[in-house]
């Protein structure tokens, strides 16, 4: 009796795994499909893509769009056109790189040390300050945007790149993320360093930061995603400054004007994020796992 029951349970369990496997494969395929299509279509000739995109927006019930899977000829023409013939794309791409680099650099200087102060020091007002960070994190951009425009105007930074860069450097979410990790580091590790005469600065650079590597890596990758994808901030802060816009805002416009090369544009635009992702993916999984997410 007992044997058959446990046998049935085991089979049930295996069945569950099979179902999980099948469903996850399906979900993964759906998730990957748009990316795969983007890269595939980027190797189609410009004329073929133009013709294909013209079949969009057709309301005739009897007609379908073709499902294109292989190009008449594999072509790098789209890339050539974007990278060599039309400097606009590269300009916007460079803008995106500059914004992202400036913000990440600023965050590297400010956020880990602020998280350190909030997690490993005791001082009056600390909990109050952390509460502010939490509140700011919960507030949507629509709310923090309006008041920070007032600061920008007072500082004369409206319609300069600094208006986009500076507020994002002090992003409360990453302070929270890294702080939650640092709080969980056992104090014995810091105390051992102090026995050897390390002060607060030494323990930051030689104990806390090395241990926090996964979460710092995760924060860097997630913050990269934010910067590379930002739309709201430039739209507000750079309203009169079209040529300083990042690619994320202008890409739409660009692909409307030049639909034949839109897929190569999208592929080039996605590529850096995939590289960053493949470099940091373990950090994201590990960092979040080790952080106290409560």
């Amino acid at each position: 009796m007992q044997i058959s029951a446990s046998h049935r349970k085991k089979r049930h369990f295996r069945l569950g795994r099979g179902v999980s496997y099948a469903l996850l494969t399906l979900v993964s395929a759906v998730v990957l499909l748009p990316l795969v299509l983007t890269f595939l279509y980027s190797f189609f000739p410009v004329s073929e893509m133009n013709a294909y995109l013209k079949t969009r927006g057709n309301y005739d019930e009897s007609r379908w769009m073709d499902v294109l899977l292989s190009p008449s000829i594999v072509s790098l023409r789209q890339y050539y056109s974007l990278l060599i013939e039309k400097p606009v794309y590269l300009q916007l791409f460079a803008n995106s790189v500059l914004y992202t680099a400036a913000i990440l650099l600023g965050q590297a200087l400010v956020i880990p040390s602020l998280a350190y102060a909030l997690s490993r020091f005791k001082f009056p007002g600390r909990d109050m300050l952390f509460f502010f960070v939490l509140m700011l994190m919960v507030l949507p951009f629509q709310v923090t945007m309006a008041p920070s425009v007032l600061t920008m105007r007072a500082l004369g930074l409206m319609n300069t790149p600094w208006a986009v860069i500076l507020p994002m450097i002090f992003s409360p979410f990453y302070v929270f993320l890294i702080r939650q990790f640092m709080v969980g580091i056992p104090s014995e590790m810091v105390e051992a360093g102090m026995m050897d005469g390390a002060g607060t600065v030494r323990s930051f650079f030689h104990v806390i930061l090395p241990i926090s590597r996964p979460i710092v890596g995760a924060a860097a990758a997630l913050s990269f995603a934010d910067c590379w994808n930002m739309v709201e901030q430039p739209l507000i802060y750079l309203s009169n400054f079209r040529e300083k816009m990042p690619l994320s805002v202008m890409f739409n416009q660009l692909s409307l004007d030049e639909s034949g090369v839109a897929f190569a544009g999208a592929a080039l635009y996605i590529l850096p994020s995939l590289l960053i992702y493949s470099y940091f993916q373990e950090d994201i999984l590990l960092g979040v796992q080790l952080s106290d997410m409560k």
């Binding site: 983007t38 602020l114 709310v143 007032l150 993916q281």
Partner: protein
């Protein structure tokens, strides 16, 4: 824990200064600003701006849409990511490739996806082929009220992975023995998940839900890409309202709208937080 160290300021000051300058001070200063009339006399007019905002139909439309869209996105992401995390756990170490795939879209810029998205959801596109294959009628996904579907799906596609990661981390912390014991007691899979897993990961689930909701409030990019600055009435978000008022240089109205929204957000999360506190102290 360090106490009374001068070096504290070294670590605290740069970040604190920035937070104060760009977030905290303008936040409080803005409250005053939202109660002035914005003319050269700069008169203090109490809540007149708030009355003006709450009487503004476009603001109400944006607010309603932002709330509705977030209520479509956040619970879907919450449920979906929990189910995916449970499935991932059952595959143990074989789940790694799936995890990597699921999180990938989080880093991908949504602007780059737009072209493919409009292809897939075209009237003659793949999605409608599926709909017809399953015996349905073709749908005009990219127009009118149905526009919400591709927008919400793009949002879920992009954001579900991050919640899966947080949920997975919490699931791994649940001791396996609990499930073995429950199985011996004859509890089925669904009972195990609802009676063991859910209560144990409740604090994390709370964080996942709050983050998913907060982020879903911000939904705008996806709409802006597909529908532009003046999209159809069913997807006109609060951010559209803010941007368009901003372009008209009506800063008072923008700021007042922001605080009206802030009050709603604070009340919602305050209520959720209290609810959570009551529940966990009852246990």
């Amino acid at each position: 824990m360090f106490t009374r160290k001068k070096s504290l300021w070294l670590f605290l000051l740069p970040g604190l200064a920035g937070l104060m300058l760009f977030y905290v001070v303008p936040f409080f200063g803005g409250i005053y600003f939202s109660m002035t009339d914005g003319t050269i006399h700069n008169q203090f007019i109490w809540f007149a701006n708030y009355q003006r905002v709450w009487a503004n139909e476009v603001f109400l439309l944006g607010l309603k849409n932002s709330l509705e869209l977030s209520l479509l996105c956040a619970p879907s992401i919450f449920v979906l990511s929990f189910l995916l995390a449970v499935m991932l756990r059952s595959l143990a170490e074989k789940s790694l490739p799936f995890r990597n795939v699921l999180l990938m879209p989080y880093l991908v810029p949504s602007a780059a996806l737009l072209v493919v998205w409009t292809l897939l959801f075209d009237f003659g596109g793949v999605v409608n082929r599926l709909v017809v294959a399953m015996g349905g009628q073709r749908v005009l996904w990219l127009e009118s009220g149905m526009l919400r579907v591709p927008i919400v799906l793009l949002y879920i596609w992009k954001n579900v992975g991050f919640s899966v990661v947080i949920f997975s981390a919490a699931l791994q912390a649940v001791p396996v023995e609990y499930y073995e014991f429950a199985r011996l007691e004859g509890a089925g899979v669904i009972r195990q998940e609802t009676r063991i897993t859910l209560p144990l990961i409740l604090p994390t689930a709370f964080v996942v839900f709050v983050l998913a909701w907060v982020n879903a409030f911000k939904i705008f990019k996806e709409v802006y890409f597909i529908g532009g600055a003046y999209p159809h009435d069913t997807v006109y978000t609060l951010q559209h309202f803010m941007n368009n008022q901003f372009a008209k240089l009506d800063y008072q109205l923008v700021t007042t709208a922001a605080y009206s929204f802030a009050v709603i957000v604070f009340v919602l999360f305050g209520a959720m937080y209290l609810g959570k506190g009551v529940r966990s102290s009852a246990n």
